[in-house]
Subunit: 444 residues, 2 copies
């Protein structure tokens, strides 16, 4: 007997959305009044506001305030059904999604599976590095950082101490820059109060970037200022360097230099997170699915892809749109309208990315922004950019209460130079066990 998942058949065309990131939830929302049945499948029961993961990892905001349960977001949308499940395979012949809770039939299926960290085949790196793509990652990093300092109290050997107190961040994009900035703020304002027994001059923060400049894709002004800010905060930049290997203790750069750390944060590369069953010919570089201007996956009639997993190749974007929230949300919104058009036999609208610019925050009062509005390009850095960054991120967090909690956290931190609670809760830390390599000296 074939086990179908138990979902009522409403008699309406079924749109199955795989993944509830920015693209997936915007699509589900834009189908609010459509005469369809919307089924969202995700392996978590909540949407994650990824741009603030780095603040969870550095104890800036609570995890709960940047995630929001799907059932709450869509509580009033009557054509919406959520299922907590992992997708295993899409049978495009039978039009069925195979999941951990059974088969789910579809009329239209939309891949909104996002991106996953790309370690370029380096398994040792994958095992030893910490990524920053999910709440679990962020809490693992927070626990690891706090455990590191607790462990630093147990040794007085310089190298052991430094392996615990030093951090290496790989990747000079927004995430890498933001983590480096947040760690340097912790070093300056917070950690010395918590760990009076440690000397924070020993804490080094290294940022490794393969190219000659940070924030690739942003303006030269933004890159230059971000570099200036990070250097003034005491972050050690390693430009034009790649990490050759990391065994959980020694980082070897392609230039031959080595760094010692028990905590390497991987913010270097992502690739699409495709689902088994889609034909290989539709897949481009970096595991992204090639779509046409209506986000239809090449070679299929009723399979679509939106957001990071989709590569819409155009003259302006020969490798697809940037893997950011804005294109994902815009594609999700438009696909909703196009599905309605499709069902009523109306012509479809081609996607046209409205680029609103990019920004990154480096620390208190310091951010960089390249904004595009009213057909103008505004480049700004420093306090004003930082205020804009906060405002835009605050209004983008889903849920009024979440917004309130994030705002309270930020205001608190701003005026007290203190951060959120430095808590080690439930999630395991990730690094090489330190106990064996360490000698407890008798200093009693």
């Amino acid at each position: 007997m074939v086990n179908y998942a138990r979902i009522a058949d409403t008699g309406k065309p079924r749109v199955v959305i795989i993944g509830g990131g920015f693209a997936g939830i915007e699509l589900a929302k834009s189908l609010r009044d459509a005469d369809v049945q919307v089924i969202l499948i995700d392996k978590q029961n909540y949407h994650t506001f990824q741009p603030l993961l780095y603040q969870v990892a550095t104890a800036g905001v609570e995890a709960d305030s940047i995630i929001h349960p799907f059932r709450k977001i869509f509580g009033k949308q009557n054509n919406f059904y959520f299922r907590l499940a992992e997708v295993q395979f899409i049978d495009t012949e039978k039009q069925v999604v195979e999941t951990s809770i059974g088969l789910i039939r579809y009329d239209y299926v939309v891949m909104a599976t996002g991106a996953t960290s790309n370690y370029f085949g380096d398994e040792q790196m994958e095992n030893n590095a910490i990524a920053l793509k999910s709440i679990d990652d962020a809490l693992t990093l927070r626990n690891t950082i706090l455990h590191n300092f607790e462990k630093s109290l147990l040794t007085d050997e310089d190298e052991q101490m430094n392996s615990l107190m030093d951090y290496v961040i790989v990747g000079g994009g927004p995430t890498g820059v933001e983590v480096a900035g947040a760690l340097s703020e912790l070093r300056k304002h917070v950690l010395p109060k918590d760990y009076k027994e440690l000397n924070f001059k020993e804490m080094d923060i290294h940022l490794v970037q393969s190219g000659p400049q940070l924030l690739k894709g942003m303006s030269d002004e933004a890159s230059r200022k971000a570099q200036e800010y990070l250097e003034s905060f005491g972050v050690k930049l390693w430009l034009n360097r790649r990490v050759k290997s990391y065994d959980g203790y020694t980082v070897t750069l392609d230039s031959g230099e080595t760094l010692i750390t028990r905590t390497l944060i991987w913010a270097a590369g992502v690739s699409g997170a495709p689902v088994n069953g889609i034909r290989k010919e539709s897949m481009l570089r970096g595991n992204r699915l090639q779509v046409n201007v209506h986000n239809r996956v090449l070679g299929y009639d009723n399979i679509f892809a939106i957001g990071d997993i989709a590569a819409m190749v155009t003259d302006e974007y020969p490798h697809g749109h940037p893997m950011l929230a804005q294109p994902a949300m815009q594609q999700g919104r438009l696909l909703g309208k196009n599905l309605v058009n499709m069902l009523s036999g109306k012509p479809l609208k081609a996607f046209n990315y409205s680029d609103k610019g990019a920004m990154a925050t480096v620390g208190r009062n310091h951010a960089v922004a390249d904004l595009k509005m009213f057909n103008k390009e505004i480049k700004t850095q420093g306090f004003f950019a930082w205020v804009i960054w906060m405002f835009i991120h605050l209004i983008s967090v889903i849920g009024f209460r979440n917004r309130l909690v994030v705002m309270v956290n930020w205001l608190w931190s701003y005026f007290t130079y203190d951060t959120g609670n430095r808590l080690i809760v439930g999630f395991t830390q990730k690094n090489v066990p330190v106990e064996e390599t360490m000698t407890h000296k008798t200093l009693i």
Copy 2:
């Protein structure tokens, strides 16, 4: 070589406190200006406000807002040292605490290890039940509840459905009453919105209590009203019943009746959590350490016990004081003063419990309180008791920001009939795997 933990010797008498619950932190605080070195050891890096654990478990408040890191609480206390470690043994001869991070020498050691769930030797119960003593417990329960409803969507067999939707709470003390009340509020106001596909008439909440009345130790009025409130909320009470066994699915009562549930919440009994190395003769019923009026453990000069782990036998309290926050805090505070007196050769003050009464909340606008103030006993139930309960708990949460977040949550819930985020984050659920026993019907 003996591995001593690396803690600077300040040349002052060393007071080692094991456990940072209510008793432990009050003691550490009251030694603020004392000429001693205070070392607090705990296996978590934070203090837990246990009275609100049930709200974390039922998605009422965020976990982060009821816990507070020790390093933050004592950031300004210069004689204070914290160590994240598990205590394995106390060598009372050598005056050394053996821990996971090495040996810690002491001049005075104070057990403030609190209480742990007591399953009275029933291993099957211990494996299958969920307790409510720590943040990990509370998050495990929250995840289990939410998973249960996601799984309920997968079946249409009545018994399977009920095993997932029904809850059995064992123990009619404050925790049992509060959990039963909170679950019935979820059933009435929150879950039907999240799970429109389920019929919440199927959700039963059972509360099993060994004696004839709830809230033993409180006044008859309080017990009677708590029972009346719970019954009006549709909680099924099983008074004068004990649970004989629970295999993760079937609960068998000593009266022969059986209940079906995959989630049994154990709020029935606690016992002291003593440390190895203390002589057995000092231990009373329920694993509590017998102490004199100065909280000195019987048979020792420099070993003390405070809070739940301590049993100070007096005429008024023949089994020791109630295992509550108030006696723990008062004992911690007094012991701090007495240690200072001891060091300066002054006479010690005997402990005299100032009973301020007890209270329990059953739900929105419904609480019961037996207050003792100004030498008067005030018994009140209903809205006024509920307001007092909220006020007292709010001001007792440590940290201004935590208080603010809890208040925002409560106000939000009160006016919207909504709760906090229903999130399944990172912690595993605890119940018997449902997949094997379940048939997915083809209802597509």
